[in-house]
Symmetry: C2
Subunit: 384 residues, 2 copies
């Protein structure tokens, strides 16, 4: 397998971008990544997007966006794994370069979520759950994650204050990220006094509805060296699925797809949790961050909540989690999230993260997840 490196990153501001269309924000991030890499063409484009059909009435993004970028002709494809679509776009680009089918790939993610009203956005997001056994009966994602949280609290004694501490940390990190949707400092009390959405999850336990796009340029390490770019190598890639419906799982207190994907990424990279200097995890809800850090082996089962309260996951802690602000504060344009996570990891490994820099970071991880843990994709990147 050929060695692959990230040589360029680009990101739009995340937020409610009502004056811009999907194609505009995608092109903005793509041009930023190409500019950062110092290249003006690629062999292949991958696009992570969960549901442009339901959110904007537009499929066939491969053709639309290659053309909008002025690159009609270039091979392009869209991938989808609900909110893990961005991670899948990265994996697809990795496979193209690692195989030699392509030498340079523009890996992108995008979602334009605010062109429909709230009920339609909730419906679109709900298509990531099992529609026959979950969605059609009325449950939506806050409800599904609330069930995971309830089980975790009962099994391990996780508290609502620990959940809130995730939001407090990620909002604090988001204050340091100019691309973040929210620059809003919150404390535990603010979170617990926010509207109860699905017990025990309050409004501030939930990631927001967001417009945004993210992009990366991947190249073979040989090509990257010829271009003289900083080499951030992709050393681990792991994917896994789990049953889509919670009802079909034997245990709701751990995320099996995340554990498996992490295990596969660690094995490929020859790394263990202690080797990771920072991790971006998929905190679509605060409980998801706690469960992800456990599934990835940073803490034993049940210790994810206390770890946040101890400050272990803060920038400067033993394993900084979501220095970008995470989905919680940076925002969660679902198809873009997995790519944006790797933009952050790359930025950190380059030492270019400014006030939120994790000092001396040499090895980083990104964990992206679809649905209520029905799919997960984990990548490990390293400074050469």
């Amino acid at each position: 397998m050929r060695e692959v490196a990230v040589i360029g990153v680009g990101l739009t501001s995340f937020g409610e971008l009502w004056t811009k269309s999907l194609r505009e924000i995608w092109v903005e991030s793509a041009l930023a990544a190409l500019d950062d890499a110092g290249v003006d063409k690629v062999d292949h484009i991958t696009i992570g997007c969960m549901s442009s059909g339901l959110f904007t009435g537009q499929e066939h993004l491969a053709s639309l966006l290659a053309g909008e970028l002025g690159m009609a002709g270039t091979p392009a494809g869209r991938v989808e794994s609900a909110c893990a679509s961005g991670g899948l776009a990265f994996r697809a680009g990795l496979a193209e370069v690692a195989s030699g089918l392509a030498d340079m790939v523009l890996v992108t993610g995008v979602e334009k979520m605010t062109d429909v009203d709230g009920a339609d956005a909730t419906y679109a997001l709900g298509t990531a759950a099992d529609q026959e056994w979950e969605g059609f009966h009325g449950i939506t994602f806050p409800g599904l994650y609330a069930m995971l949280a309830q089980m975790h609290m009962q099994r391990y004694g996780t508290t609502i204050e620990q959940l809130a501490a995730v939001a407090v940390k990620n909002h604090a990190n988001g204050m340091l990220n100019p691309h973040a949707q929210y620059h809003l400092k919150v404390d535990v009390d603010t979170v617990l006094r926010s509207t109860l959405v699905a017990d025990p999850l309050h409004l501030l336990d939930c990631s927001p509805v967001t417009d945004g796009a993210a992009a990366l340029v991947l190249a073979s390490v040989d090509t990257a060296k010829k271009l003289g770019k900083p080499i951030i190598k992709v050393t681990g890639s792991g994917m896994a699925t789990d049953t889509i419906s919670l009802a079909a799982r034997s245990d709701l207190t751990s995320l099996e797809a995340v554990r498996l994907a992490g295990e596969r990424a660690y094995a490929m990279a020859g790394k263990k949790p202690a080797d990771i200097d920072l991790v971006e995890v998929h905190d679509c809800f605060t409980i998801a961050e706690i469960m992800a850090t456990e599934a990835l082996g940073f803490f034993k089962l049940g210790d994810g909540g206390p770890a946040v309260e101890r400050g272990d996951t803060a920038i400067g802690g033993t394993i900084p989690v979501n220095p970008s602000g995470g989905l919680k504060a940076k925002g969660h344009p679902v198809g873009a999230t997995g790519v944006a996570q790797i933009v952050e990891v790359t930025t950190q490994l380059r030492g270019e993260a400014g006030d939120r820099q994790v000092k001396g970071a040499k090895t980083g991880m990104a964990q992206n997840m679809g649905g209520s843990g029905g799919s997960s994709i984990v990548h490990i990147l390293e400074v050469e």
Copy 2:
């Protein structure tokens, strides 16, 4: 790059499968392919599907379908490039095996199109066009392809009888395919007397709305040999895009994405048009088959229509086109089509196509296309 082979194929019957759900038809085709390959697990699953969100209210097929197959845990991902989604699923599986990220991949395509009414199906299919510059103004795909046909007729003198001859041939081939949606013999007069949908395209110039699923097992050639399976090697893979809207193209009388994708596949395989023994092309409308055979170099521009009338593209002709019956008669479950094309090519190269067998076929091609030619993916397969 590691050598890759198709070692198993599976297909549902194509048609209006009102009593079966998306997950049921997908599992049926997947089990058939696994059974044909003689394996009971894979390292990775790819799923081509254009718009399960709009057709069935269900995204996140990777998680749903891996679980339904009893393979929760296995890495899986969905890809989309409108009606070229199946071809993209094959490319994604090829990249996984060629890179060594996976050793055996289940490549699948599926679309359940008849769970919505006709207007909603037309809307869903329309999302493959540029919604801002085409769809929102009222044009649908028969109209877009009718414009291509009008231009081709004006430039090259292509006739409505030549268009009809494509339908006549493909329906004749479909009579020989037990999986085909239609077993209906038509003649030129039947086609020309069918309802005019968008001048010059009649109802029988158009592919139907179809439910169906198709699956393949891909493996490294080394693994295939150990399993003792017949080796059908993937020797060429080419992809390309074009602008999504017709208005942005400089010439409407040729399909540039098809030409480029074909050129790339030929180059990778070291083949030329004269080396191909049979081809499955994307005949979503009869004009599309004529234009595809020209773009792939089987006939010079303008000779695609006369070639059909001469019988060159019949089984037994100089280059048999769509021996399966094509999208026209076999049916067009949009996400499944690209995979089903390669099922047919593999079946032909194995010499197992029964009454529609192209005698002595050693090298075959499949050409899949999205939208009005906004994306195309071409593969070349060869008997070892």
